[in-house]
């Protein structure tokens, strides 16, 4: 004699397996998604982080922690990096549009 509720449990197990199988194999039945938006977001995050660094350096200067000459060196370095990021961001945007 099967315990009460056994059938319901088996049904639930079958439903779980079917659901998982359908969900997992879906990408194989659909075209590969593009990842341009993710790359754009990563670049935007990197740009924001770099801008924060520029702002931090300015704050350090105004707080008197950095010598003006050192700030110029640091600021130039950070701005060069930010400029490179902006170039990559523009290129990625262009690529995403096309």
């Amino acid at each position: 004699v099967r315990p009460e509720g056994h059938d319901v449990e088996l049904l639930l197990v079958c439903a779980m397996v079917a659901l998982v199988a359908g969900f997992v194999t879906r990408p194989l039945r659909a075209p590969a998604p593009g990842s341009a938006s993710g790359r754009l977001r990563a670049l935007e995050d990197a740009r924001d982080a770099k801008l924060r660094e520029i702002r931090d350096a300015e704050l350090d200067l105004r707080m008197g922690k950095l010598e003006p000459a050192d700030h110029r060196v640091l600021d130039a370095r950070l701005r060069a990096e930010a400029a490179a990021l902006l170039r990559r961001l523009d290129a990625a945007r262009e690529e995403a549009r096309t």
Binding site: G5, H6, E9, L10, L12, V13, M16, V17, V20, F23, V24, T25, R26, P27, L28, A30, A32, P33, S35, S37, G38, R39, R41, A42, D45, A46, R47, D48, A49, L51, R52, E53, R55, D56, A57, L59, D60, R62, M63, G64, K65, L66, E67, D70, V73, L74, R79, A82, A83, A84, L85, L86, R87, L89, D90
Partner: protein, 713 residues
């Protein structure tokens, strides 16, 4: 529902290797579709493990003793709250919790990571699924939570009494969240090594997870310390126990990682160091789980010897060998071009701080594993005690607190000695004034390490607070707004930086609490009769009367203590000792309460300045003749009659109490340990909190047009 739970676990065992294979194919062929299958397997794994968790949780709540794990870790007399959380006191339940948390955090991480760093996330998915496979295999093959008993008992053994403490039920999920969250930066670090993308992208993609791991692990450690102080009855919050140490190790290396990644993000330096640190932290997280679950080292927290030791060791060996091999393989890519410009810079302070933190971790690792090392080397198991740990960790900790104050004073790139001296003058003066004032206090004078820690702690707190005020003043001047508004603005605009500063303040406060409470505490072990008085640390403690109380779950015997100072009442404390029954039919109905486990309920009066801590050990030998007599006359008593007999024993103890042994402790600044810990957690939460978009928008708008023009040039 047991079939459903067991099927969910079996499905997990099928899914995990299938996911590893799919993700591997995705990485090898650079095929986004197979990588997506791997990710979906991870999400599904979380789903099916959630089903297993719900089924097991329901079995605990229903007291379904047909499951061995429920019968041995719960009972019908266990309060509902503890029944709901008893799952993770068992080997099987805690492993299920581990892999469930891993699958949950990993799903979140790869979901966000695959958009930002697809190549790295694809490989990380493979690594995280391999972790899950190991734990699911352990669950199914060696520690199945759905294993059923041939003959279910009518009553379960009950939850281990020491674990019947509210914070202890949150402690394992917090600790395991920390451990499992550390596997995420570990997996992305491996992904970065495999894909060759060794810039700071993988760090950015996992920063929040690393911070959350640090927060959860720290919270778990703090809860464990609190449990030790208020429940274990030995009178301390840290015993250098192997399992405590095992949780501290990844926290220390993780702290070092969170600092040194900033050098890589800003300067592109320390790539090998960072990847090494994150790999070590991930492996230490698995090692911590191994220590708790294997019982290889003696610990209050270890859950006995088990069959899991060998598979765990093999897995850890694989992780170490694989990680080392990958780092060596990528050594050329990991080499950095630049170098640190000046020893007087924030990056240099971070680097020194890293060395101190890793030094601390090494000392603790060596002391923790010394019993195993000595056994392998000499054939004899020797261990080191708290004095050994303190000899090495105290100077390293003092130096680390000093750097927690010095770091915020330093700018990136280079600080001029004159400007640094100006910024550090006031904090240094405060530290010297603190040290001078403490020298006038005789007990502190004789503890130079405590004195140094408190003085350096004062320096760190002063440095951070003054730094924050200086930043707010600059902002107030620039914006024309009032100081409080400017202060909120400064913190809100850079939560990561000021969250970190708050952590430094909390760390300094915590270590001041540790230094004062461990060096300046007064401990006295006494044996008292009702009416007797003992003196400790300037307080008088009078044993007023005995207490006795029986419930179905336990028999509690204790004392009422009046604490006074100079004749003035300070507190009334009621420490007790709870005796829990052991399910052994060979023992009499009362004797079984005195043959099982016993726990202390501490009598505690906490204050900002000091804690007054008491524990009692009733002399149950004096009750033995009575217990033997009752058990002889009523050997089959149960239910209400058994409770009646227990009441009689409690009554007898209350009316004719024998002398009882007491431990009395007056410990200064213990509350600072908890306060400091909470401030650290608040700082981490602040750093984790996402910056509001308007701030970013303003920051973007503030970019000079020239910069954008340069970007297009």
């Amino acid at each position: 529902m047991i079939v459903l739970g067991r099927s969910a676990l079996l499905l997990a065992l099928v899914l995990a290797p299938a996911g590893v294979a799919a993700a591997f194919v995705g990485v090898r062929r650079a095929d986004a579709r197979w990588s997506a299958v791997g990710r979906r397997v991870l999400y599904s794994l979380f789903g099916v493990l959630s089903v297993a968790m719900i089924v097991l949780e329901a079995a605990f709540l229903r007291s379904d003793f047909s499951l061995g794990v429920v019968a041995t870790h719960s009972s019908t007399t266990t309060p509902a709250f503890y029944r709901a959380t008893a799952m993770w006191s068992s080997q099987e339940g805690s492993l299920l919790l581990w892999v469930w948390l891993l699958a949950g955090w990993a799903s979140l991480a790869v979901r966000s990571g695959h958009r930002r760093v697809p190549e790295i996330a694809a490989c990380a998915t493979c690594v995280l699924l391999a972790f899950a496979l190991f734990f699911v295999a352990l669950l199914v093959l060696l520690a199945n939570p759905f294993a059923q008993l041939a003959v279910p008992p009518a009553e379960g053994t009950g939850l281990q009494p020491l674990l019947r403490y509210p914070a202890m039920m949150i402690h394992p999920p917090a600790l395991y969240s920390g451990y499992t969250l550390w596997t995420i930066p570990f997996a992305f670090g491996i992904g970065a090594l495999v894909s060759g993308r060794l810039d700071a992208a993988w760090i950015g993609a996992t920063r929040r997870f690393a911070l959350a791991a640090w927060l959860a692990l720290g919270f778990g450690v703090l809860l464990g310390a609190r449990w030790s102080w208020s429940e274990l009855g030995w009178g301390g919050y840290w015993a250098w126990d192997p399992v405590e140490n095992a949780a501290l190790l990844p926290w220390l290396t993780g702290t070092a990682f969170l600092h040194s990644v900033m050098i890589q993000e800003r300067r592109g330096l320390l790539r090998t160091w960072n990847v090494g640190l994150v790999l070590a932290t991930g492996i230490l997280a698995v090692l911590g789980t191994f220590l708790v679950r294997s019982g290889v080292l003696e610990s209050i927290h270890a859950f006995g010897a088990s069959t899991l030791g060998v598979p765990f060791l093999a897995f850890i060996a694989l992780l170490v060998a694989g990680s080392t091999g990958l780092v060596l393989h990528r050594r050329a890519l990991l080499a950095a071009d630049g170098r640190i410009d000046s020893v007087l810079s924030r990056e240099a302070v971070f680097l020194v701080g890293n060395l101190l933190l890793v030094g601390l971790a090494f000392v603790i690792f060596w002391g923790t594993f010394f019993p195993l090392i000595s056994e392998v080397a000499t054939g004899r198991r020797a261990s080191v005690g708290p004095p050994w740990f303190e000899r090495y960790t105290v100077p390293l900790a003092i130096a680390t607190v000093g750097l927690a104050g010095l770091g915020p004073l330093m700018p990136w790139l280079r600080a001029s000695p004159a400007r640094l001296a100006r910024a550090g003058a006031v904090p240094a003066a405060i530290a010297l004034a603190t040290a001078g004032a403490l020298l006038a206090v005789p007990p502190v004078r004789s503890h130079p390490a405590a004195l140094a820690t408190i003085a350096v702690g004062a320096f760190a707190v002063a440095a951070v607070v003054l730094e924050l005020l200086r930043a707010a003043r600059v902002r107030a001047r620039a914006s024309g707004r009032a100081m409080p508004h400017a202060l909120a603005g400064v913190v809100g605009r850079n939560r990561r930086r000021y969250g970190g500063y708050l952590v430094h303040v909390g760390f300094a406060v915590l270590l001041v609490g540790v230094a004062a409470s461990s060096s300046l505490q007064h401990v006295r072990d006494v044996r008292l009769r009702p009416g007797d008085t003992a003196a400790v640390g300037g307080y008088d403690v009078r044993y007023v009367r005995a207490t006795g109380h029986a419930t179905r779950e336990k028999l509690s015997l204790g004392a009422v203590l009046e604490v006074s100072r100079g004749g003035r009442h300070v507190a009334t404390l009621t420490p007790t000792r709870g005796f829990y029954a052991v399910e052994d039919p060979r023992l009499g109905p009362v004797d079984r309460y005195f043959s099982g486990e016993a726990t202390s309920e501490v009598g505690l009066e906490s204050g900002l300045g000091r804690d007054f801590w008491t524990a009692v050990e009733p002399d149950v030998q004096a009750l033995r003749p009575m217990i033997a007599g009752i058990d002889r006359r009523f050997p089959l008593a149960s239910g209400a009659s058994q409770r009646f007999l227990l009441d009689a024993v409690a009554e007898r103890y209350r009316r004719f109490p024998p002398p009882a042994a007491f431990r009395l402790i007056v410990s200064p600044l213990v509350a600072w340990v908890w306060m400091g810990g909470l401030v650290m957690l608040a700082g981490a939460l602040l750093a984790l909190w996402p910056a509001p978009h308007p701030v970013l928008r303003r920051a973007r708008l503030a970019v000079p047009r020239a910069l954008r023009a340069a970007g297009r040039a």
